[in-house]
C-alpha cells in the first residue's frame, strides 16, 4: 500500500530569518564578489587563507630555524644580521615569517567572525567550532614566544609582560617568571626551550587543524589559485617595502618607553596593564569558555536527518561520496539483497541539506509511482513533494519556466509568479538532474537551476556537485538530450533575486550574463 500523500503544499520551506549582522556581512561579501569575483573573493575563503598563511609561516620558519643561533648571546645578532646583511634573501624570509603570522591572526579572526555571523557554529557544526577554540590559544602562544626569541627590546617587553601575567597565577607563576626577570637568568637552555615551544605550538596548530576538519568531507584548505597568488604577492610586496627588523638588543636593566609592539599578538598586554593580570586572565578564560559553549546557546531548529530506504537502495556509494559533512557511512548490508553495503546516516552529523537525495540514482521523477520513493530522503522535505509541486505548477501554467532554487541562496519564491514556477530545496544539490529533464518533458519552456555556486554554498559542496552533475561530470548526470540552452545553471546568492528575474525574462542572457554551466 502506498504511504499517505505528503501534506506539504509546496516543496518550499520557510526561509530562515536573517539577522541584521548576517545581512550586513552578506552584503559585504556581495560587494567583494563584484570586485574579486566569487572564486577569488577572500571573504569566502578565510579559513583556507588562514591555512595558507600557516604554511608560509612554517616554511619560512624552517629556514629561520636553520640560521637562528639558539644561545642567549647570539640570538639577537643571528636574526638582526640576517635581515640587514641579506635583505633580499634571509631578510625577505624573515619578513614573510612575521607578516604571514600576522595575516594568519587576521584571517583567523575574520574566519571565526564570519562563521559566527552566518550562524555556522551550532547543531551539527559544534565539533568543528569547539575544536577550533584551542587552536586560538596555541597560535597565540606560538606567536608570543616567537617574538621573545628575537631578544630585542620588543622581546624584553613581551617577556616582561608574560612574566607579569603568569606571575599572577597562584602556585607556580611567580616561580616561573624568575627565569625571565634578570639577564643572568636568561640562559642558552631557556632559548632552546623557547624554540621548542614556538615550533611545537605551531605544529600543534597544524595537527589541531586535522581534528578541526575531521567532520568535514573534502575540506577546502587551499584558496583558489588566483586568490593564493594575489595574497602571496601582497605579502611579498609588503616584505620588500616594509622589511621586518629587530630593535636594539634587550637590556634587562631598562624598560623601553615605547615598545614597538605587534598588535596582532600583543593586544592582550596593554589590556592587562590598563587593568590587572587577574582581569586579563578573567577575560581570556571567560572568552574561551564563551566560545566553547556558544554552539549550545543557539536555538537553531534542526531539520530531521536523512533516512535510508533500503528497498530502493543498491549501495552505489554516491550519497556517501557526496555528503559534505561525512554524515553517511557504509556498513555491511542487512537486508539480504545482493549488494555489499548500505548507507547509514549519523543523525548527529547530518545537516539535512538533501545533497544525498540529489545523488541517489533512485531519485528519478519518471518513476510511475504516485509517491516518489527514493533510496535516501529527507523526512521533512521529501522528494515526492518537489515532484508534486512541479506537476501542479506545470498543470496550472503549461509552458512556464521552472526555477529550482535553494533555501540558502536567492529567494526563489520572490521570483516565482506568472510564467515562472519557483521551487526551492534546502540545497540546490538536492535536485536530481533528472528533474530538469522531467520538467522539460512535462512541458516546461526552460529550466533554471539557481545554486550558491562553488564558493558560496552553505553546505559547502552543493554548488560544486550541482554544477558537475548538470555539466555531465559527476553522477547522476543530466541526460545529454536535456543539455543545452533550455537548462541553465545560475549562481544566485541571497540578494541576487534581481539577477534571477533578469535571467528568467531574458533566456539568452540578462542584464548581467548568468554563470553558465561549463559544458552546457
Amino acid at each position: 500500500m502506498e504511504p499517505a500523500e505528503p501534506t506539504l503544499p509546496l516543496a518550499v520551506a520557510d526561509l530562515a530569518p536573517r539577522s541584521a549582522t548576517e545581512r550586513a556581512w552578506r552584503a559585504l561579501e556581495r560587494q567583494a564578489d563584484r570586485v574579486f569575483g566569487v572564486a577569488a573573493n577572500p571573504l569566502r575563503q578565510l579559513g583556507a587563507l588562514a591555512v595558507l598563511m600557516l604554511w608560509i609561516a612554517l616554511a619560512s620558519g624552517t629556514y629561520l630555524y636553520i640560521v637562528f643561533d639558539t644561545t642567549a648571546a647570539g640570538a639577537h645578532a643571528s636574526l638582526d644580521d640576517l635581515a640587514r646583511d641579506q635583505p633580499w634573501a634571509g631578510g625577505l624570509v624573515r619578513s614573510l615569517h612575521r607578516y604571514s603570522a600576522d595575516a594568519f591572526v587576521l584571517f583567523t579572526a575574520l574566519h571565526v567572525g564570519r562563521e559566527w555571523l552566518l550562524g555556522r557554529y551550532a547543531g551539527f557544526r559544534w565539533f568543528s567550532w569547539v575544536s577550533g577554540v584551542p587552536l586560538l590559544w596555541l597560535a597565540l602562544l606560538s606567536g608570543l614566544i616567537g617574538y621573545w626569541m628575537v631578544a630585542d627590546t620588543r622581546a624584553l617587553f613581551v617577556a616582561t609582560a608574560i612574566a607579569d601575567w603568569t606571575g599572577w597565577l597562584p602556585g607556580f607563576g611567580a616561580a616561573l617568571m624568575r627565569s625571565f626577570i634578570a639577564e643572568k637568568a636568561i640562559s642558552d637552555r631557556l632559548f632552546a626551550l623557547l624554540v621548542f615551544i614556538h615550533i611545537f605550538a605551531a605544529l600543534l596548530v597544524l595537527a589541531g587543524l586535522w581534528v578541526h576538519l575531521k567532520r568535514i568531507a573534502r575540506p577546502v584548505t587551499q584558496p583558489t589559485r588566483q586568490l593564493a597568488v594575489g595574497v602571496a604577492l601582497m605579502l611579498l610586496a609588503l616584505s620588500v617595502l616594509w622589511p621586518a627588523l629587530s630593535t636594539e638588543p634587550a637590556d634587562f636593566t631598562r624598560m623601553p618607553f615605547a615598545a614597538p609592539v605587534d598588535w596582532f599578538f600583543y593586544w592582550l598586554f596593554p589590556l592587562m596593564y590598563a587593568t590587572s593580570p587577574g582581569a586579563l586572565w578573567a577575560v581570556m578564560v571567560a572568552g574561551t569558555l564563551l566560545l566553547a559553549v556558544l554552539p549550545w546557546t543557539a536555538r537553531a531548529s534542526r531539520p530531521a536527518a536523512a533516512v535510508v530506504d533500503l528497498a530502493h537502495c543498491n549501495g552505489c556509494r554516491r550519497c556517501f561520496d557526496d555528503c559534505p559533512f561525512s554524515a553517511i557511512v557504509l556498513v555491511p548490508r542487512t537486508d539480504r539483497r545482493p549488494y555489499a553495503v548500505q548507507p547509514e546516516v549519523d543523525a548527529d552529523l547530518c545537516a539535512g541539506c538533501g545533497i544525498c537525495v540529489g545523488s541517489c540514482p533512485s531519485s528519478l521523477p519518471f518513476r510511475a509511482r504516485e509517491r516518489l520513493i527514493t533510496g535516501i530522503d529527507l523526512p521533512d522535505r521529501p522528494l515526492t513533494a518537489l515532484r508534486d509541486a512541479l506537476r501542479r505548477g506545470l498543470a496550472a501554467q503549461p509552458g512556464a519556466a521552472v526555477l529550482f532554487g535553494c533555501d540558502e541562496g536567492a529567494d526563489a519564491r520572490a521570483v516565482g509568479g506568472a510564467g515562472v514556477i519557483a521551487l526551492s530545496a534546502p540545497c540546490a544539490a538536492m535536485l536530481p538532474p533528472a528533474f530538469a529533464d522531467y520538467a522539460l518533458l512535462q512541458g516546461a519552456s526552460r529550466v533554471v537551476v539557481a545554486s550558491c555556486g562553488r564558493h558560496g554554498c552553505a553546505y559547502r559542496l552543493g554548488g560544486r556537485w550541482t554544477e558537475d552533475r548538470l555539466a555531465g561530470r559527476r553522477d547522476p548526470v543530466l541526460r545529454s538530450r536535456a543539455r543545452g540552452p533550455r537548462v541553465r545553471l545560475l549562481e544566485a546568492l541571497r540578494g541576487d533575486e534581481g539577477r534571477l528575474r533578469s535571467a528568467l525574462r531574458h533566456p539568452e542572457g540578462g542584464d548581467e550574463p548568468p554563470v553558465e554551466m561549463a559544458d552546457a
Partner: protein, 167 residues
C-alpha cells in the same frame, strides 16, 4: 564593473590589507611607563623555616611506631610564609606575606610584584622574614639609588649572596 576598474580596486584592497598588516605589526608603539617613570620589581623564591619546633619523641611513642619509622625527632612539615616589606623613601609600598607552595605548605614561597615609581633619587629599604616564630626581620637591605627614567630596580633574595639584593 569593467575589468580594468576591477583590477584597480582589487589592487587597492590588497594594498589596504597589506598596510593594515604592516602597520599594526609594529605600530602604534605601546608606552608601558611614563617619561619620568621607572619600574620597581620584587622577585623571590625562598623556602621559609619550619613553622614549629622539632620535638623529641618519647621511648613509648617510638615503640609504637614501625621500626623503619622510628626517627627520634618529630618536626612539623609546614613552613613559615615569607614576609616582605619594602619602603620607598620611608613609605611602605610592598607589605606582603607569600605562602609556601604545596598541599602541605612545605614548599618554597615564590613572590613577584611590580610597581612603577617616579624616576629620581630614592631610598629603598627592603626587609624579609622567613620564620613565624620570630617577630624580627632577619634580612634587611637599604640602598640609595639614583633611578633613571625607564630603569628597572630589582629586589631579589639570595641567601648565598647575603640575602636581600637591590640592583
Amino acid at each position: 564593473m569593467p575589468k580594468p576598474l576591477r583590477y584597480l580596486v582589487q589592487a587597492l584592497l590588497y594594498a589596504a590589507f597589506a598596510a593594515v598588516v604592516g602597520y599594526f605589526s609594529t605600530s602604534p608603539p605601546y608606552r608601558q611607563l611614563g617619561d619620568d617613570q621607572a619600574l620597581l620589581r620584587l622577585s623571590l623564591l625562598h623556602p621559609g623555616k619550619p613553622k614549629g619546633d622539632c620535638r623529641q619523641r618519647t621511648p613509648e611513642e617510638l615503640a609504637k611506631m614501625s621500626p623503619q619509622m622510628r626517627t627520634p625527632l618529630d618536626c612539623p612539615r609546614e613552613r613559615s610564609p615569607v614576609v616582605v616589606r619594602v619602603e620607598l623613601d620611608g613609605k611602605a609600598v610592598i607589605d606582603e606575606s607569600f605562602a609556601p607552595a604545596g598541599l602541605n605548605r612545605d614548599g618554597a614561597s615564590a613572590g613577584y610584584r611590580r610597581l612603577p615609581i617616579p624616576a629620581g633619587r630614592h631610598t629603598v629599604r627592603a626587609r624579609l622574614s622567613d620564620d613565624t616564630r620570630s617577630a624580627e626581620f632577619p634580612y634587611e637591605r637599604t640602598a640609595e639609588l639614583d633611578v633613571k627614567p625607564g630603569q628597572i630596580v630589582l629586589i631579589d633574595f639570595n641567601p648565598a649572596q647575603g640575602g636581600l639584593l637591590i640592583r
